[in-house]
Subunit: 382 residues, 4 copies
């Protein structure tokens, strides 16, 4: 059973791969391997027991379809996965698997590993968008164009100011996302009730080792303290909205009656099944669609915050698929808009015609210096 058509065109193959079954199972086994290594280093389990576990984690093949069925019954992925790992390791070493950990430790760590990888992928496309937009903004900073407010012709602007403003929003959103992921993509390791019990007082040390091993931030358990995840989700929602602002503008400028800019012509893209002459703003469509979908996902992430006691019922279990969807939508939008702005066709004749029609002169005020200030801020913050 494949579900690819539901995920496209809103996301990209590269982003989907970061959240697919193979990636999820791989990260879960990486958690168990890191745990075994850390517990051996702290003397909780024998070194060769850890070696065996690590080795089985590296070679174990798990059928996602079977695992999914069992996860449904168990209510969590970790239980059937750990059962398989224990059986594959076997004997006393098998008993040492997952020692001191709980299902949510696995689930949350997997999610954070995926968040980190997806952020890196996403940042690359966001950088592409900003670089292309800033370059265009710089080039067109002094080109007088009619500015539009409340969807009506207003007063002149430098055409590049519009682009610089869009870029500035995306840039700011990208930095916020990066900062939130750096701060909150933490190892989860607390055990059954989040106390790191039965670890001979070595729990904090084990968690630190695991964090280093897996490339995550260290810290105390956060099973029912979900503000970090919520902050990552919100940051993604803001990234998508900032891209949506750009998509809104490009799609408005690309209207036939306006014609100031349009998406690049790409074979197979933006066609119509009924009208051969059309060039649909497909990149903008993907992004505006994401900008409709993302806010609801963020709301649901926030509404899950009041989780019960040590580890909640329903709240954290809801987060995984929603955070994945937010990353997938962000990745799809960023890639789509990178293609759009890297090939954006700007029609200076249309810009001049529309400005003349407005009859409000060509005084673009301080447009150029505002563009320069936005560019300078960008260079400083990078």
């Amino acid at each position: 059973m494949s579900d690819l058509l539901r995920t496209r065109p809103s996301s990209t193959a590269a982003a989907l791969a970061l959240f697919d079954d193979a990636a999820t199972i791989g990260h879960a086994l990486a958690f168990e391997a890191a745990l075994a290594r850390a517990e051996a280093a702290e003397g909780l389990i024998a070194r060769d027991t850890a070696d065996t576990i690590v080795s089985v984690c590296a070679s174990l093949r798990i059928d996602p379809a079977h695992l999914a069925e069992e996860a449904t019954l168990a209510g969590t992925l970790a239980i059937p996965l750990v059962n398989r790992l224990r059986a594959a390791v076997g004997g006393e070493a098998g008993d040492a698997v997952h020692k001191g950990a709980t299902s949510q430790d696995v689930a949350d760590t997997v999610l954070m590993l995926q968040a980190k990888a997806a952020t890196e992928l996403l940042r690359n496309d966001l950088d592409r968008v900003c670089a292309a937009l800033y370059a265009l903004a710089d080039r067109h900073a002094a080109t007088p164009a009619i500015g539009r407010t409340l969807l009506q012709d207003a007063m002149p602007v430098g055409f590049g100011l519009r682009l610089a403003q869009a870029a500035g929003g995306i840039d700011n959103a990208a930095h916020r996302l990066g900062a939130e992921v750096s701060a909150n993509a933490k190892i989860q390791f607390g055990g059954a009730a989040g106390t790191r019990a039965r670890l001979d007082g070595k729990g904090a040390a084990i968690a630190r080792r695991m964090a280093d091993d897996l490339g995550l931030a260290a810290g105390v358990p956060w099973h029912a303290r979900r503000v970090g995840v919520a902050a990552i989700a919100s940051s993604l929602g803001i990234v998508i909205g900032a891209l949506g602002k750009l998509a809104r503008d490009v799609s408005l400028l690309a209207q036939n009656a306006v014609g100031e800019a349009r998406e690049p012509a790409i074979t197979g893209r933006g066609g119509s099944s009924a009208m051969a002459h059309k060039r649909n703003p497909t990149g903008c469509q993907i992004t505006l669609s994401a900008a409709i979908r993302a806010p609801g996902l963020v709301a649901s992430m926030l509404s899950g915050l009041p989780q019960e006691e040590e580890r909640g019922l329903g709240g954290w279990q809801a987060e995984g698929p929603m955070l994945a969807d937010l990353f997938l939508l962000a990745a799809g939008s960023a890639e789509a808009m990178a293609v759009v702005v890297e090939g954006l066709e700007i029609d200076q004749t249309a810009i001049a015609r529309n400005l003349a029609a407005a009859g409000v002169g060509a005084d673009i005020g301080e447009s150029e210096s505002i563009v320069a200030a936005i560019l300078a801020h960008h260079r400083k913050s990078d």
Copy 2:
């Protein structure tokens, strides 16, 4: 690439199958076949041309992965799918494929076919939930229990009243969903700009034939009039919330210190990776998780309503995956709660103990007649 683990345990295999790639492609080809048949019946295309198209629709095999890649570029599934179908039919008959239709006609009709099938599946589980709950409510209508308000012991209630109230909400929500799907799961057939142009004035007749053929309601095109889809989505949100109310109550009653009811013991279900003695309320978890996720999806559906002009940019394209998610969550919750209530363990000793501890007597007022009224309403509306 498989994505099963992101969809479980929140949904069921049966529901996922209704929205998978095979189902989507199958419905899209069914649209094209129904269109060809209807256009032949109305004399727009030759009968044997239609026969050829119908026959190819029945036998065509399409690789979802390739189609997904092309759909991403095109921004829609229909363009690459129609291209393949035309190529497979070939010649003049190939030119007759998709005649007078637009991509959105296919996408919306596919979505409505999936909505209809999913509603049927869902109604079956909702009926199970209601039947089991009403039976329990009837049996325990006169059992005095402590009623709780604002999470504090309040005054006595008939234990069955609590169950009848939960059932009544689910029942009402199920009927609303059924009514909205019946009214709004309509054929979409309007062509490029929703005018049914180039069909020799036979557009309405073709649409009626297609609706009959595919088992959908007939009507005028609704490309940018999305209130029907929004109403289906809202109804699903209400179904999930009503199931969530039941899950909330069962999970509160199942707390160790309360112990009035708990989920049935099922091998492999509700275990803990760290605590063998626990019986987690896994069905409630699935449902409460869905009740966190659904409202955001409904919000996003509603925020997409102001779609542009004849066919919008981004709005309707966002709806498909979100409506699918709502159906998937509803199906997962309904199935989970059906299992929970069909095997619900009610502990009369705990009920009596908690009531006695409250020290407010055992006057359950009109609990029995309220339960009877809810049951009577249910029997009448079915």
Copy 3:
């Protein structure tokens, strides 16, 4: 302390008056009066006791500011209000006030009375919108105009088809709202734990009398069964979204480069503090703004559905202000769009010019018969 500026321009004075302190206190006292009358009729309290209570309810003056302070401490309006009423009635009759009722009975009944009144107000403006739009649609059904899809020029449409589609969506949404309010604006009367205890078995009869008295539907208590309120809220969200679709189209058509329609010129409306030449689409602004705000309110209403046990903690208390906001936004949007469509300026020259520029001929297909079908459906359902 007044808060008027936060509520404008998004709503109207008439709608705000339905939800202001005077209205709320008035409805709460009407509840207590209806309760006394019904209990006297059923022999639970003496007739002259009821007369005294009813009389005091009619004359009691309560300072909203003081009541608000006490309501904050109590967590509910009803407790301090009933205390005042009891004190004002005095003696044994005072003890008979609020007999068998609970705070939530008052709060929910007040909310439903406000919902009913606001729906009537709203329906009036929605009818104005539909009537004006259908008339315009009929007049311009055969006027060829360029249809636009994905924000690009596509194929010709009858200009009136666009208006008829917008009207059809609003019409459908208005009917759904009316039906949901009729079905769900119910008396709430259940007492402390929703069992109608201590009423000598007359609870159902008292509730029926109160419903008749107050003009609400009768039924069993629904303290923790909130699907009806959620359905009203969703229906409002759909109404606002349907109005938003109209506002989106008018604002796009009113762009200077398009110019096919624009809002009427009204003194004091749509001006600019910086640009005297502008005519801003202020009615569309109000409506698009509401269409951004409403979906989140609906989501929050749905996320409150899983309320705890007999009467929940936080869920129903959240509903009142949100349902009020939805009605206020709907009323503001409906009134704004009524003004817009009743005075809509349609520029046939611009329509013709834009169509010619598209170069796709003037075949409007079955536009006229689709408009006729939408109009016929409207006439039938009214």
Copy 4:
């Protein structure tokens, strides 16, 4: 017309005062006064003209009701307000009022001034919550209690760990809010199309002066770049959710069958209109109610991000009331939970009894060191 009852008990009088009509008008006049001062300092208008404007701004009395009516027609508060100010100043000095500014400059600056003041108010109560919780956490760090996961008894925890975790989340959320407000509460000054035209190139200098004068951050215009406002809104949503987690826990612990903690007894608070014996968790109710309402508001803020071109239609106009609501809900929740935790009654006997009943020993693992780590992190970040 007063609307106090719709705003209580969810917010506080102090918070409401920050957003009431007097505050809004006061901030708007402060904007105009600061603008006049800055323009005089930069030589754009005469010093005595500025003095006159400043003086009238200080003494002008505006009736909110009249202003609200006119704002509804104009679609914005600024137009009628500036008209009155111009008339009051009169003559040539009147023409100098609002020079180079646009309505949105006023609206956004007012909103940011309110955001700043509300954040300060809020931080005070958040600090109270954290201080009280951390003190309790420290005191009860070593008290063995049963930990609960998925609403089932699980393994022992230090009772203080639960409190420290809740505090840590609130603390983190409070810091994020503070940082976002510091970074994003910026002066808005861009003029009609955001170019600072007709200011002799002094626009940036004027904006800096105004920012200093009003206590806001400086920067380029951000009329259609709303990521900063969205980030403030999200941060508020996270604050409310973090308070909601605490409220969830307190309300669960306060259940009669659990009894480990409960809200303080306060005269007039948490009573019941039907049950004199009850002590309702009113502070938790206020907070859980806010936690239901906030996510939808955040979603709507995010869905407004894709605003059109230089200044959008509907998007930014929607933000003001929603951001105000978020601050009001946050303030109400923070104050409520400050009262709750400062007087929290902890029942050590119940804690011990519940732990014994679970029969899982009393090994609280590293609870104490985790509490210590959370406290140390708090001290460092303050």
